[in-house]
Each structure stands twice: as structure tokens, then as C-alpha cells.
């Protein structure tokens, strides 16, 4: 068995670099699309073409950020975590490369087909038709094989908790994706029930599990101490697994789905406080007393914001699930703010923290301190303004509807805050360009210092 503990082999560094570069491309592309969409609110006649229209680009933005950027970045990091935490080389590296190709093939085919108007309806996060989705599912199966093969060869007796989350996330997503594709139980209202399950689980059983797994590895490494509680990690794993699949119907409150089905979703949305507080509490307690270390690290501030927004965003999700508040906020921009608080504030910040923490270890090339700082502040202030603006916009819409004014009054009352959202989106996108330059420094640029084994002429 080829074993190499420590920083990992050059082949692994190349693999991680390829995943990160690829994900960065999708981040830039999909958020450029998002930026265009945000400017279509104040300027609806901007870029009037079927291929640049709101109805087609919206799904390209969401699927591109989810399955292009976040999935590729997190899976690439997950491979690295599996090998390092197991103290062995990554097994089945060929399949790991195939994973990357399959993810990219899915994202390219998905983007093209959506832009041609070929989709599954507005069923959020599963707009890709089955012959696109199948490549994505293949990638997840391949990733699962790579992770299991690597963890099975580990030097330690115990499977480190990070790998529970990442292997679990792949298992759940294979089942979830299969459930979503099969057509026999998806007609009319039946499809609504499946969609309620799918859209929520795609977020909470895939991205959340990968991001938590990554944090369980990266945060102790950054803080130079073990995770505060292994048991809280295990508690979080099982409670997330059991509670999360029950809550999808809270996206369809007041819909014709059975009332008890909706109530069940609300009850378990409250139950979700257990895994969310167990996980975020565990991470905060790992950081406790070492704030100077957090402040001085390049990667740790990203992980800190990720954990903070995991806590805030998921707790907000529980509160939002109550009927009294859904009556106000359902169908408004508030929901879009919530999804950015979680998918961006939590998932994307954790992915960035993981990249800044692990990629320099793999390649021996460091990002620029100044650029990293600017990236952090643009992205952090950007998403914070974004979420606040849309939360206000959504509240204004809800109040306008409840006051019984003509519909257009809700559009007019939200309009100023939609403009703020476009400004915030511009800041976020500027952060992504800075991040891309850092990725170049960490992968493509010539190393600032000679690699450890390179023979350097005196």
C-alpha cells in the first residue's frame, strides 16, 4: 500500500488543484449570471433575448452555483480530507478524476439545455432533465467509491467524524437523486410531494453534510486542537439524518398537500435545532479562547463566518417554518434571502475556508494576504447586505399583499431593496474575481519559494 501521511503526494495536489480551478470557473460563470439577473429587477428590459431571459437564466444560476461550483469544490476538498484524516494516499485516483469530468459534463449539458428551454419545469434544483442529472448522479457514485476505498485503507482504527458526514452525504444523494428521477409516482400533486422532499434534501443532505464534514477536519487543523466534542458530532449526524428528510413540506405550507403533512414538517423543523446547535456549538467551542488565531489566519475567518451563518441561517429556517410567519413571507424575496444566507453565507464560506486552509498545504503555493482580506470583506459585507435587503423587500411584499392593495404595489414597495440587492451582488462578484486570482496564485503561478524537494541552485 502506498502510504504517505503529511502533506500528500503531488498527484493529489494536482487533483485538488483541478477541482478547485474547475469550481472557480463555475463560481465566476454562475454568479455573473446571478448578477445579470439581479439587474433585471430594476432594468427589466436589459438583455432581452430568449437566451438571456430571466426565466431561463435563473435555473442556470442556481444549478451552476449548486452543482457546478459548490459540489465540485466540496467534493475535491472531501477527497483530500479522506486521505489525510485516514493517513493514506487517496485510493482510486482515476475514479476521482472521472468524478470531476462527470460533474463538469453534467454542469455543461445542464447549462446548455436550460438555456435552450429544456427543463423539468420550475422544480427548483432539479430543473436538469434526467439525461443531465444522470451524469451528476454518476459523479456522486464515483465520489462515494473513492471515499469508501480510501477510508477502508485507513491507518487509524476509528473512522474520523469528518468522513461520516462526507460518505453519508454521498449515500443520501445517490438515493435522493434516484428518487427524484424515477417518474412513476410523480403526477400532479404527487409530484409536488416529491419536489418538497427533493428541493430541501438536495441542500440539507448533500451540501450541509459535505460542508460539515469539511469543517470537522479543517477547523481543528486551523485551531491546532482537537474538535471540542466527538459525541456532539455523532449526535448531529444522526439527528440531521432523521429530522431533515421530514421537513421538505414546509416549502409548501398552505398548499393543497395534506395539512398534517405540512404540520409534520413544521414540527421537525423545530427538531432541526438539535443538529444545528450541536454542530455550530461544537465548532464555536473548538474556536473558543483562540480568537487571535482566527483573526490572524487567512482561512479561519471564512470558516468562522460559515459556522455563524450556518447557525443564524438554519435557526432562521426553523422560525420561518411557523405558519404565522409563512403567511407573511411565503412567495416573497425573503425566501431568496434565506437561501443565500445558507448556500452562500454557510456553504460557500466553508468551501472557501477549506480551500484557503488546505490548497496551500497541497501545492506549497500561498494566496496573497491582501487579496484574501479583500475577498473576505467583499463577500462577507456583500452577502450580509444582500440578505438584509431581501429580508426587507420580502417583508414589504408580504405587508403590501396583506393590506389588499393592487398587486403592483408590492413590486413598487420592494423595488428599492431589489436595487440594493444588485449592489450587494456586485460586491459579492468582485470578491469572486479576487478569489479567482488567489486560486491562480495557489495553483498556476510559480511558487514563491522553492518546493521542499526541488534542487535549487545557490
Amino acid at each position: 500500500m502506498e502510504t504517505k501521511s503529511g502533506p500528500g503526494t503531488d498527484a493529489e495536489a494536482k487533483l485538488l488543484s483541478a477541482f478547485v480551478v474547475s469550481s472557480t470557473f463555475w463560481l465566476l460563470f454562475a454568479t455573473a449570471v446571478g448578477l445579470l439577473l439581479s439587474f433585471k429587477f430594476p432594468y427589466p428590459d436589459l438583455a432581452t433575448s430568449p437566451y438571456l431571459s430571466f426565466g431561463r437564466l435563473r435555473a442556470i444560476h442556481t444549478n451552476g452555483t449548486f452543482y457546478g461550483f459548490a459540489s465540485i469544490a466540496l467534493v475535491g476538498l472531501t477527497f483530500w480530507v479522506a486521505a489525510r484524516s485516514s493517513g493514506v494516499a487517496l485510493q482510486r485516483r482515476g475514479l476521482a478524476w472521472a468524478t470531476l469530468w462527470a460533474f463538469n459534463l453534467a454542469a455543461v449539458l445542464g447549462t446548455i439545455s436550460l438555456d435552450l428551454g429544456i427543463n423539468n419545469g420550475d422544480q427548483e434544483y432539479r430543473e436538469w432533465v434526467w439525461w443531465v442529472e444522470i451524469f451528476f448522479l454518476a459523479a456522486v457514485v464515483l465520489a462515494l467509491i473513492v471515499l469508501v476505498s480510501t477510508v477502508a485503507k485507513r491507518a487509524e482504527r476509528e473512522i474520523y467524524i469528518a468522513n461520516w458526514y462526507t460518505i453519508g452525504g454521498c449515500v443520501f444523494t445517490v438515493i435522493l437523486g434516484t428518487t427524484a428521477i424515477l417518474p412513476w409516482y410523480q403526477h400532479g400533486l404527487g409530484q409536488v410531494a416529491v419536489q418538497a422532499f427533493y428541493m430541501h434534501n438536495a441542500v440539507g443532505m448533500w451540501f450541509t453534510f459535505l460542508a460539515l464534514g469539511l469543517t470537522y477536519y479543517a477547523l481543528p487543523k486551523l485551531m491546532n486542537r482537537p474538535i471540542y466534542s466527538y459525541a456532539l458530532g455523532v449526535l448531529g449526524f444522526w439527528t440531521n439524518l432523521v429530522f431533515y428528510p421530514m421537513i421538505g413540506a414546509h416549502h409548501f405550507l398552505f398548499s393543497p398537500l395534506p395539512w398534517w403533512f405540512q404540520t409534520l414538517a413544521i414540527v421537525f423543523s423545530v427538531g432541526m435545532l438539535v443538529p444545528v446547535w450541536a454542530g455550530s456549538g461544537n465548532f464555536f467551542l473548538t474556536m473558543r479562547g483562540r480568537w487571535e488565531l482566527v483573526r490572524r489566519s487567512q482561512a479561519a475567518p471564512f470558516v468562522f463566518v460559515g459556522v455563524l451563518y450556518y447557525f443564524i441561517g438554519s435557526t432562521q429556517g426553523t422560525v420561518e417554518a411557523f405558519r404565522g410567519l409563512q403567511a407573511l413571507w411565503h412567495f416573497t424575496s425573503f425566501t431568496v434571502g434565506h437561501s443565500h444566507l445558507t448556500m452562500y453565507g454557510f456553504i460557500t464560506f466553508i468551501a472557501w475556508g477549506g480551500i484557503y486552509a488546505l490548497l496551500p498545504l497541497a501545492t506549497g503555493k500561498k494566496p496573497s494576504v491582501l487579496i484574501t482580506g479583500l475577498h473576505f470583506w467583499f463577500a462577507f459585507l456583500g452577502v450580509t447586505i444582500y440578505v438584509i435587503a431581501l429580508s426587507i423587500a420580502g417583508t414589504m411584499q408580504g405587508i403590501a399583499w396583506a393590506s389588499g392593495n393592487p398587486f403592483i404595489a408590492s413590486v413598487e414597495s420592494a423595488a428599492p431593496y431589489w436595487l440594493w440587492r444588485a449592489v450587494a451582488g456586485t460586491m459579492m462578484f468582485a470578491g469572486h474575481v479576487l478569489f479567482a486570482y488567489n486560486v491562480y496564485l495557489m495553483t498556476g503561478a510559480r511558487p514563491a519559494r522553492p518546493a521542499a524537494l526541488a534542487v535549487s541552485p545557490a
Binding site: 431571459s53 431561463r56 449515500v171 400533486l189 410531494a193 439524518l241 432523521v242
Partner: protein, 189 residues
């Protein structure tokens, strides 16, 4: 846990059971919901229009589900389970950047209004943020026999030109006008 096979198997079994209970079985049962009495299946042209509605992502901004809440009364009666029997893929939607369309065929029955509004929404509602679907129309110097010309306000079309609705535009409007809630036999909450 020190056996990766147990981890994979336990995760798969627990999640598999939950996926059956929360997605597959509810899907199976609710897929058999009988249509609301009086709800007509879509015609071939209306289905073509529905495909365009799906392709263009109309459902990202327009819901098709009226809630049993006071603020939704303007859109029609609360949705009943049987209303969706002919609606696959489902188009219930999740955002209302525009109004609900469950009953738009009854609320806005003018085909002419729908054509002008699709061509340029701001010609009718100045604060509207809906995209213009000009590509569903043809702008030409003279209408040919059989063309359906749309009386778009002069400010929104080049002088000496007419706007003609394509087959796709006609299908889409046919679909929109077909969106009428069937009356319920008795009042339900």
C-alpha cells in the same frame, strides 16, 4: 464506528426508509388524486402553450396555488387537491414577483390584453418588472393573410410596422386563458 461498510449500510437503510415514507409513498398516493369535478383536460394547443410556459420559466415568478388566506382571495378560491390532476410537471411555484395565475383565465379573459402584455408588459403596467417576450412575436411591415396582429401601443413598435403573434404566442395565450378554477361542489376551508 470502525467499519465503513456499516456506516454506508446504516446511512442507506435509514435514509432509504425516510425517502420511501416522505417522497415515494406520498407521491404514489397523491398522484392518484381525482380531478376536481368540472376541471377540463388541456387541449393540444393549450398543452403546447403550457410547454412554452415551462420552457420560459414563467413559474419562477408566478405561482399557481391560491392559499386559504385573506390576501389570496383576490386570486380565486383556495386550491383544491384535484386542481392539479392534469398538471405535470407541477407549476405551483415558490415566488410571486408577479401575481398568481391559477384563475387568470377568469380574472383577465382578454386575449388582446394578454398578447400586448406578453409583447411588452410596460406598455400596459408601467411599474411591471416582467420580461418582454418579444421573441414570441414577429414585427413586419405588412400583415399577411391569416396573421394575428396585436394592437401594441404605437410607442412600443417601429413606425409602419405591425406585431404578429406567432403560433407559440397563440398557444401560450390559449393556455393562460384556460387557467380557470373549476367551482367546488361545496365550500371547503
Amino acid at each position: 464506528m470502525n467499519d465503513v461498510r456499516i456506516l454506508v449500510a446504516a446511512s442507506a437503510i435509514v435514509y432509504g426508509i425516510l425517502a420511501l415514507a416522505m417522497a415515494v409513498f406520498p407521491g404514489l398516493i397523491l398522484s392518484r388524486t381525482a380531478p376536481t369535478p368540472g376541471l377540463a383536460p388541456f387541449t393540444a394547443q393549450q398543452l403546447r402553450g403550457r410547454d412554452i410556459y415551462v420552457s420560459e420559466g414563467c413559474a419562477y415568478c408566478h405561482t399557481q396555488q391560491v392559499r386559504p388566506l385573506a390576501q389570496d382571495r383576490v386570486f380565486g378560491r383556495p386550491a383544491a387537491r384535484g386542481d392539479f390532476a392534469y398538471s405535470t410537471p407541477e407549476l405551483l411555484g415558490s415566488e410571486r414577483n408577479g401575481p398568481d395565475l391559477s384563475n387568470v383565465g377568469a380574472r383577465q379573459p382578454s386575449a388582446i390584453w394578454q398578447y400586448i402584455h406578453l409583447y411588452q408588459p410596460r406598455s400596459l403596467v408601467s411599474a411591471s418588472i416582467m420580461p418582454s417576450y418579444a421573441w414570441l412575436f414577429e414585427v413586419k411591415a405588412h400583415a399577411a393573410p391569416g396573421d394575428l396582429t396585436v394592437p401594441v401601443p404605437a410607442a412600443y413598435v417601429a413606425r409602419g410596422h405591425v406585431v404578429v403573434a406567432s403560433q407559440d404566442a397563440q398557444a401560450l395565450v390559449a393556455y393562460l386563458l384556460a387557467l380557470k378554477q373549476a367551482p367546488l361542489p361545496k365550500a371547503k376551508p
